[in-house]
């Protein structure tokens, strides 16, 4: 009996330690890295321990009663006294949990309002547009538009306005395409037929759904530079699992440098190079959806986005296609250009039937867009 008890305790300790340390979890809500995630974590932890306490007491009681009052071997079965209840006990065990829960409710409510408050002071405002199945990040004040990687400075609250966009959505000349619409409540048709997504970067903030026709907001902030993994959380169709993103936090100086880089026009490839051939293919096909700032189409008009990510500084991003593919591997980009839907089922990016040579050229062009 004693060895068995020790074995059980040992196994429990092993399980607990295995659960506690997950050194490689990258998207861990138990590893808050900024004040907004901290607030949630600081609320969850005491509630978790209260729950553990209740768990131990109740399961312990259950086990104790089951063992203590089991019918012993060899003893005649006696009919126990027929106890029907005890009002005082009943009222007691109704009120006690109610009090514990009331204690939990108070910090819950204050934190709800705390998190909902619009941050004041030096705030970075970014519009987040959720597409099937990638993320567009638009910096209206800075004039920057990027995809799948949200760059932010450390130590500064970032106030996100989130909306879902779909087919039929076109880039607007106005700085914010994510406005909730005119005062009469009508939704600008440019938003298109989106589905619901959900923005979640657990180490920096809680979840915020992104709902068509509704401009939601979320505040996040990172304490230290780093790359924080995020993912779409609301089921949004075929490639829901492939709709990831990253928040990249820089020191304020590095962030300013990043910003200047992004504000610049795209790099033009040297004429006659493979990349220049790629640019021609790009101008022939890809500009139907993708913008590259500084590039002009055959009629001399600037290339604007029409449903696809802005690729002006594509090569500066570590990942693409909803952060499912990595930019350091040219094979992944080539496979993507060859047949997008084979990589991400349901992808709205068409298979243009590019030849291997054309693909090589477009890869060369895109890799040059630093």
């Amino acid at each position: 009996m004693r060895t068995r008890t020790r074995l059980i305790l040992g196994l429990a300790a092993l399980a607990a330690s295995a659960a506690a340390c997950a050194p490689n979890a990258q998207q861990d809500s138990l590893n808050p890295q900024g004040p907004y995630a901290d607030k949630i974590y600081d609320l969850f932890v005491p509630v978790f321990w209260i729950a553990v306490g209740v768990f131990v007491v109740v399961e312990g009681l259950l086990l104790f009663i089951a063992l203590r009052y089991r019918r012993r071997k060899g003893r005649a079965a006696e009919i126990p006294p027929q106890i029907h209840g005890n009002n005082r006990l009943e009222i007691g065990w109704t009120i006690l949990p109610a009090l514990i829960l009331a204690g939990v409710a108070v910090p819950t409510v204050t934190t709800i309002f705390d998190l909902a408050r619009e941050p004041q002071g030096d705030v970075l405002e970014v519009n987040v547009l959720a597409h099937q199945w990638w993320w567009e990040f638009d910096y209206p004040q800075e004039g920057v538009n990027t995809a799948n990687e949200l760059h932010i400075p450390t130590g500064r609250p970032v106030y996100l306005t989130l909306c879902a966009v779909g087919l039929g959505y076109e880039d607007q000349p106005t700085p914010s395409v994510c406005q909730p619409g005119p005062p009469d409540g009508a939704i600008p048709a440019a938003i298109g037929d989106g589905v619901i997504h959900s923005f979640w970067v657990p180490e920096l903030a809680g979840t915020q759904d992104v709902v068509p026709g509704q401009a939601n907001t979320l505040t996040l902030q990172a304490d230290a530079p780093g790359r924080y993994s995020g993912q779409c959380k609301e089921f949004c169709g075929l490639s829901h699992a492939y709709m990831k993103f990253a928040v990249v936090a820089h020191t304020p100086e590095d962030y300013d440098a990043w910003l200047r880089g992004q504000q610049a026009d795209a790099v033009m490839p040297e004429s006659g190079s493979l990349a220049a051939t790629g640019m021609d293919v790009f101008l022939g096909q890809c500009i139907a959806c993708h913008a590259v700032q500084g590039l002009e189409d055959a009629n001399g008009n600037p290339v604007v986005a029409n449903g696809g990510p802005n690729l002006t500084h594509f090569a500066s991003r570590e990942c693409f296609a909803g952060c499912w593919l990595q930019n350091d591997d040219p094979e992944e980009l080539a496979a993507w250009l060859d047949n997008p839907a084979a990589v991400k089922q349901g992808s709205w990016m068409p298979d243009y039937g590019l030849t291997p040579d054309e693909i090589d050229a477009v890869v060369a062009y895109l890799k040059g867009l630093t």
Partner: protein
């Protein structure tokens, strides 16, 4: 042997079909209006769907066992997780509970059948056809793929017919449940035996009553939503289209305003079962019967006021989130109280642990975990992290599997001798229990960790870098242990059904009326309807308290029964009928018609109306 399909006697003018007379064999099951046979039909059908839904779960676990797997493509994966949810909620736990309710309620309250026996048959056939209809979509262009929650606009924009099947199939199942809810509620309120006041009813009858009201008030809400979805899919309306000025969140409100009471619809019958099993094997009455009943009623009411806790991240604002956070905290109280009542029941009991008792205790132990993780959801900001992660998957499986399914298995072991006249093998039953308990915790325990460490729900795969591999593998191993446990149960059933029927009326020394009649009960349930003098009537006929705290068996022949011993006079049993199945078949054709062809819909409508019309003209008893 089975009498052949063609009825030979009893034809009656005025009906379209001659009255069926088969009492054994295939047609006796098709035309039966006996609540016991219908209960068995519900149970067998629901268990078959349990095997199917469980197989889908195994496929999900195989796909997620390792990162970056491509065993199932995203489109197939989406169909499978959607069908797993639809199956387990609508085609397993609800009808399995209905099986117990159908079989047991008339016996427990001392009635000969339910109030509307043919409606009861209609409910079963509609449920069966709804299940067949939804599953046939696999062969007719693709299964539903938008989640059991079917969120608009994704469900509307999806180009396949899957979610159309979902909408129509759930509407059919909804009619079945609504009809059944009214039937059972009327039965409980009007057909109790003499002396059985409401507060002498077994707790299972009380929980069933609460569930029928939950069904009757929550199903109309999902019906509205499903019609809107169907109209959006089939006729191009714009109920959820933000471009047309509508609000897609409307679907979520309607769905969860149904969906949360639905959770209690799934769990309350199992709570009722556990409240019957624990007293029997503790040989003590349920501790605080009235508290358990009133907390069940309280759950029924508050259950309609917590739906937004499924929607904290939607962006309804801090005031809505606060209100629903508090209501969610409030509902935890009556739910928690029951745990203490069950502990109190076992306290100072004379405890034995046959398989039903093990499952009942397993229910309590697992439900505590599900309840506690549920409390962490009422902490709204914490839910901002947990929502739509595997933490939620862990939570509701602790409630609906560790809770409802454990309770239902306990009920199967407990009432098996009553229903089939044979006891399931105890040794296999105990192995089944322990294997399932361990497998269950291995499957769903790690999901708490996975969710908190960043694994969203409904993802077809995950990259290795997220560090989620280990616990996913453990979870998959656990799932196959559960499968093995279910296999053992099936073997047990097959072995048991070969044994001769030789079972006492009361093999467990139980407390409620169904144990007064033979095992299995005769078609008319009781030779003489018992007169009820107390809660736990059957127990009081066997034991008497001679002094406070001292209970002794009643001497033989001295039972408190005062009904005459003359057998079965004045028994009027409803006669079997073809029309429930005919009308249901019409609804099935109508369903396919709405998807594919208006001609077929017309045929279906005619068959349905003919069935209902003939039914209306057919007397219930001949």
């Amino acid at each position: 042997m089975a009498s052949v399909s063609v009825p030979t006697t009893g034809g009656r003018a005025g009906g379209l079909l001659r009255r069926p007379t088969a009492t054994t064999g295939f047609w006796s099951w098709v035309t039966t209006v006996d609540h016991k046979k219908i209960g068995i039909l519900y149970g067998v059908t629901a268990f078959a769907f349990f095997i199917v839904g469980g197989t889908e779960a195994l496929l999900i676990r195989l796909q997620l066992a390792q990162p970056d797997q491509a065993l199932l493509s995203p489109s197939v994966y989406n169909e499978i997780f959607t069908m797993h949810g639809i199956t387990m909620v609508f085609l397993v736990v609800m009808p399995l509970s209905a099986a117990f309710i159908n079989y047991l309620i008339p016996l427990m309250i001392g009635a000969r059948d339910v109030a509307f026996p043919r409606l009861n048959a209609l409910s079963y056939w509609l449920f069966l056809f709804a299940g067949i209809f939804i599953y046939s979509s696999w062969f007719l262009g693709g299964a539903p793929n938008g989640g059991w929650f079917g969120y608009a606009p994704n469900a509307v924009l999806d180009p396949t017919r899957g979610m159309t099947f979902y909408a129509i199939g759930l509407l059919m199942a909804g009619v079945a449940s609504t009809v059944s809810a009214i039937n059972i509620a009327v039965t409980i309120l009007n057909m109790r035996a003499p002396g059985m006041t409401l507060f002498r009813m077994p707790v299972f009858a009380w929980m069933s009553l609460v569930v029928q009201f939950l069904l009757a008030f929550s199903l109309p809400i999902i019906t509205v939503a499903l019609f809107q979805l169907l109209f959006d899919k089939r006729f191009g309306t714009h109920f959820f289209d933000s471009v047309a000025g509508a609000d897609p969140v409307l679907w979520q409100h309607l769905f969860w305003l149904f969906g949360h009471p639905e959770v209690y619809i799934l769990i309350l019958p199992a709570m009722g079962i556990v409240s019957e099993i624990l007293p029997t094997f503790a040989r003590k009455p349920l501790f605080g019967y009235q508290f358990v009943v009133f907390s069940g009623i309280a759950i029924g009411f508050i259950g309609f006021g917590v739906w937004v806790h499924h929607m904290y991240a939607v962006g309804l604002g801090p005031i809505a989130n606060t209100a629903f956070g508090i209501s969610t905290i409030i509902i935890a109280v009556p739910t928690g109280v029951k745990i203490f009542n069950w502990l109190g029941t076992m306290w100072k009991g004379d405890l034995t642990f046959p398989t039903p008792m093990l499952f009942a205790i397993g229910f309590v132990a697992m439900f505590v975990i599900g309840g506690l993780s549920g409390v962490t959801h009422s902490v709204v900001p914490a839910d901002y992290q947990q929502t739509d992660t595997y933490y939620i998957v862990a939570h509701f499986h602790y409630v609906l599997f560790g809770g409802a399914i454990f309770g239902l298995f306990g009920g199967m072991y407990y009432w098996w001798p009553k229903v089939f006249g044979r006891k399931l093998n105890e040794g296999l039953g105990k192995v089944h229990f322990w294997l399932m308990l361990i497998g269950f915790n291995l499957t769903f325990g790690p999901m708490h960790v996975l969710g908190l460490q960043g694994m969203p729900r409904r993802i077809q795969t995950y990259p290795e870098e997220l560090g989620l591999t280990f616990w996913n593998l453990v979870s998959t191993v656990g799932a196959f242990m559960i499968a093995l446990a279910v296999l053992l149960f099936l073997i047990n059933v097959a072995m048991t059904q070969r044994k001769p029927k030789a079972m006492d009326a009361d093999p467990w020394d139980a407390r409620t009326l169904e144990w007064l009649t033979t095992s299995p009960p005769p078609e008319h349930n009781f030779d003489e309807i018992p007169t009820v003098h107390a809660l736990d009537e059957a127990w009081h006929r066997k034991y008497v308290e001679t002094a406070p705290g001292r209970v002794v068996p009643v001497p033989a022949g001295g039972s408190g029964a005062d009904e005459a011993a003359s057998a079965g006079h004045g028994v009027h049993l409803p006669a079997p009928s073809y029309y429930p199945v005919v009308a249901s078949l019409g609804v099935l054709l109508l369903g396919y018609g709405v998807v594919f062809s208006w001609w077929l819909a017309g045929v279906g409508a005619v068959v349905m109306l003919a069935g209902l019309y003939a039914w209306a003209l057919e007397p219930s008893v001949e």
